[in-house]
Amino acid sequence: MTPPLEHDYIGLAETSAMENSTKISSSSSSSSSTVSNSEDNGKLIGHLNLKETELRLGLPGSEFPERGEGVGLTLGLPKSFGSGAKRGFSDAIDGSAKWVFSGGGGSEVGLGKGGILFSPRGENGSGKLPVASPAKDLGGVGKATGQENKGKVGSGLAAPAAKAQVVGWPPIRSYRKNTMASNSSKNKEDDEGKQEVGCLYIKVSMDGAPYLRKVDLKTYSNYKELSLALEKMFSCFIIGQCSSNEVSSRERISESRMIDTLQGSEYVLTYEDKDGDWMLVGDVPWDMFIISCQKLRIMKGSDATGNAPRALE
């Protein structure tokens, strides 16, 4: 087993793997499930209570000594799963792309104790990224309300996993199932290094995030849209940015608040221009920006400006 300091990304391919992983931490799911339950009716999906959920990165199959502290939700992995070897990005994505972060050990990532689970909304540029699925791992927050409402709150995590595949249910034609399966595997193949036409894919890095993303600048028409998209993309790495009562719904967060979130308390959006200089995003007109932007970087506020973070309104 490699030393716990190395972080790793695991895509759990099968439901059975999920079952194993979810069983380990079902006890801590109840808090997140009940929170989501009590929220506004239509907004149950994708709701994560940041205070209650904690995640740390670790290795497959590793023990999680910090589980005892606080309310950390950690996901274990079946022993069968990990050789512990670091896996490449594409290796970690399986056809249906179920992402799971295993909690545990120390982490170089700098997320500290508050890292939240990766949110699945890959936007535009990552349109080809398979959709991740954290909600299930957090006790089926929002999504598994069916199970929760049956009173199995405590087993919120177990319930989705226990959704054993009944023959012929849900009623989807095999043709459709097969086509979708082959589509997702094709997406995986296309993912590697194909440059798309009529678009401007640039890398986006965020300080402290374990991996980069790509966005297509051509799909946005102004800074606000870009900022919104980046916020959605990287929200999983943003700790306690949103005020607690706004967290329930991405839709409700106003654009300005989004921008604040990204550029406010802790983070500043910068880009590398054609000359290799790092510039603050927002100074030049949008059209000029997309021509000159080579890379984006979401910097920690303290690194970027040396100022104290702005308070949220």
């Binding site: 890959g122 049956k150 009944v166 249910w169 989807i172 034609r173 194909k194 009529g198």
Partner: protein, 580 residues
């Protein structure tokens, strides 16, 4: 009000009556006319041009062919609907051979043939290809058993073929150059749907075919045609009305996007667009120019997500039919509700039905559509949660619903707000939507909902039920009500022998009944078969164990398929089927 036999038959020559009957819109009407007197029976059967056989085992092929000697178009359906979901063993039946043989014998002037859910062999295709001089339309939907070699025979021999429509069949690819079998002189193609073809397509051959078939209106490609080839094909067929783009992705070329965009700009007549659209958000704006005119958009195999998906769909202001994945989410459906005021049919499919559902599609999306789209009458919706309130809202918003199929993915899911069964919601649907013809229910349901369905769903023709009900009463409500019921399919419900036997006569008024994983016993099936000689009572036992003759009456029956027939028990039952 059948006319008096003596004077009607004598008053006009047969040809006049035939002309009159040609105005009868449906087979049902023609059947009624035919039943009124012998003269009309004779005249009607001789003049019927379109024959529809809803269950291939309901009548012997030779009998059907003899009954309607002047048929020009026929459609035959085979396996029960639940075969789509792997509930019917592969060898159950539905073979087309006997039908094709009878048709070749008795209908040499046949022009149109459509098979649905049947097993069609290459031999069948060869017979079809050679037997009908004026053959024009071949439609195979959800069929299996044939290969591209069979298609080659059709291509080579059907000189006047207009339509080759292959919809979601399972086709073996052993003759990848089958398209070359269309002779160079062949120009009659109007409709070519090869979207489900598994293998490669010889694109230059396809190009030449498309070029010379100047009346081609529908072209649906398979996955093997990359974008750069699509552009070439598009340029050769700017008159297309219905386009299936295939995978809509490909290797990057410098000006591919602009070529694609300009190809679409030339498409004045395009009404229908589909394709698998494998996750290429960057290319989507290329089709914007045709969106305004689209009436049908099928992205149900596309992995396109928001915001690109919403951007695309909201531009399609004339849309009447939208098939899409749950990537559209509630937001997208709200956008559709405000943009697509002419929408009549919506189908939303799950992108990851067995997975953890990260997509934000809930009952709210459907409610928004029901509120915003006044012409909506047909719905198929997969989601994870539902409330009675939402269903009631939908029912009140859209009393014009004719097809409502809701699949809440987790069985027996209650109203997530009240934790109540969804009885009230579905009851509202059947009470409000007086013209409802097709209904699929899901979620937590008690017998009460079936009481409503039985009482109110007077026009209901097809009902699908799964994981619902509490007792025999549920089935009894359905069978004793539902005046127009033709097809009933049930799985995993606690329905037993009593309501089946009590309503045996009802089964003869229906096309078919499927019941699996219910509480039926052999004894009841035997009784039913004895009582109703014009029903085939088939017990399907995949374990193919000991003979059912020798089993005790209380032996549980896992799968039952009952259908009315004038042909008696079929002769091609496999080992998993026992006709009681």
């Amino acid at each position: 009000m059948p006319p008096h036999p003596e004077w009607t038959a004598a008053m006009f020559p047969d040809e006049v009556w035939e002309h009159v009957f040609s105005f009868l819109p449906s087979d049902a009407d023609r059947n009624v006319a035919a039943a009124s007197c012998h003269a009309w029976l004779r005249i009607e059967r001789r003049s019927r041009r379109r024959v529809f056989v809803g269950n291939c085992y309901a009548v012997a092929p030779a009998v059907a062919v003899a009954r309607f000697p002047e048929a020009r178009a026929v459609e035959v359906k085979g396996k029960p609907h639940f075969a789509d979901f792997d509930l019917v063993p592969g060898d159950w039946g539905g073979g087309a051979d006997e039908w094709v043989a009878a048709m070749a014998e008795g209908w040499p002037q046949l022009e149109e043939l459509r098979f649905k859910r049947m097993v069609v062999s290459d031999d069948c295709l060869e017979v079809i290809a050679r037997s009908f001089r004026n053959f024009r339309v071949l439609g195979l939907a959800f069929c299996e058993g044939f290969s591209t070699a069979g298609l080659a025979a059709v291509a080579a021999n059907c000189r006047n073929l207009r339509v080759l429509d292959l919809q979601e069949n399972v086709i073996e690819d052993n003759c990848s150059h089958w398209l070359s079998h269309f002779p160079e002189s062949f120009t009659s193609l109007v409709h070519l749907n090869i979207a489900c073809l598994p293998g490669e397509v010889n694109v230059p051959v396809l190009e030449r075919l498309v070029s010379r078939c100047t009346n081609l209106k529908t072209l649906k490609l398979n996955h093997a045609v990359p974008l750069e080839k699509l552009v070439i094909l598009l340029r050769k067929a700017p008159q297309l009305v219905d386009l299936g783009t295939g995978r809509f992705s490909g290797e990057h070329h410098l000006d591919l996007y602009s070529k694609l965009e300009s190809a679409f700009t030339g498409y004045k007549s395009l009404k229908s667009l589909s394709g698998t659209w494998e996750a290429v958000p960057a290319y989507l704006p290329a089709v914007y120019s045709v969106c305004e005119g689209l009436t049908s958009l099928n992205l149900s195999y596309a992995t396109t997500q928001n915001p690109e998906l919403i951007k695309l769909v909201s531009r399609c202001k004339s849309l009447q039919r939208l098939w899409v994945m749950d990537f559209i989410e509630d937001d997208g459906l709200a956008a559709v509700a405000s943009s697509c005021k002419l929408l009549q049919e919506l189908r939303v499919f799950p992108s990851d039905p067995y997975g953890p559902q990260p997509v934000s599609l809930t009952e709210r999306g459907l409610v928004a559509i029901s509120a915003g789209c006044p012409m909506l009458h047909s719905v198929l919706y997969f989601c994870n949660q539902m409330t009675n309130a939402a269903l009631i809202a939908i029912a009140l918003n859209r009393p014009n619903l004719t097809r409502f199929r809701l699949c809440i993915i987790e069985p027996q899911t209650p109203d997530y707000l009240t934790l109540q069964p969804l009885d009230a919601g579905f009851s509202a649907i059947v009470e409000s939507c007086k013209d409802l013809r097709r209904l699929s229910v899901s979620g937590l349901l008690t017998d009460r909902v079936f009481k409503s369905i039985g009482a109110y769903a007077d026009r209901l023709e097809m009902l699908s039920v799964a994981f619902a009900g509490d007792s025999d009463a549920g089935l009894h409500y359905i069978l004793s009500g539902c005046k127009s019921l033709r097809k009933l399919e049930i799985r995993d419900c606690p329905f037993g022998d009593k309501p089946l036997l009590a309503n045996a006569a009802k089964l003869e008024t229906m096309r078919s009944l499927w019941m699996s994983s219910c509480s039926l016993t052999l004894g009841a099936c035997k009784l039913l078969a004895r009582k109703m000689p014009r029903l085939n009572v088939e017990i399907i036992d995949e374990r193919r164990g000991a003979s059912w003759d020798s089993r005790p009456d209380d032996c549980p029956v896992e799968k039952l398929y009952v259908y009315r027939t004038v042909a008696g028990p079929r002769s091609d039952t496999p080992s998993c089927v026992w006709t009681v």
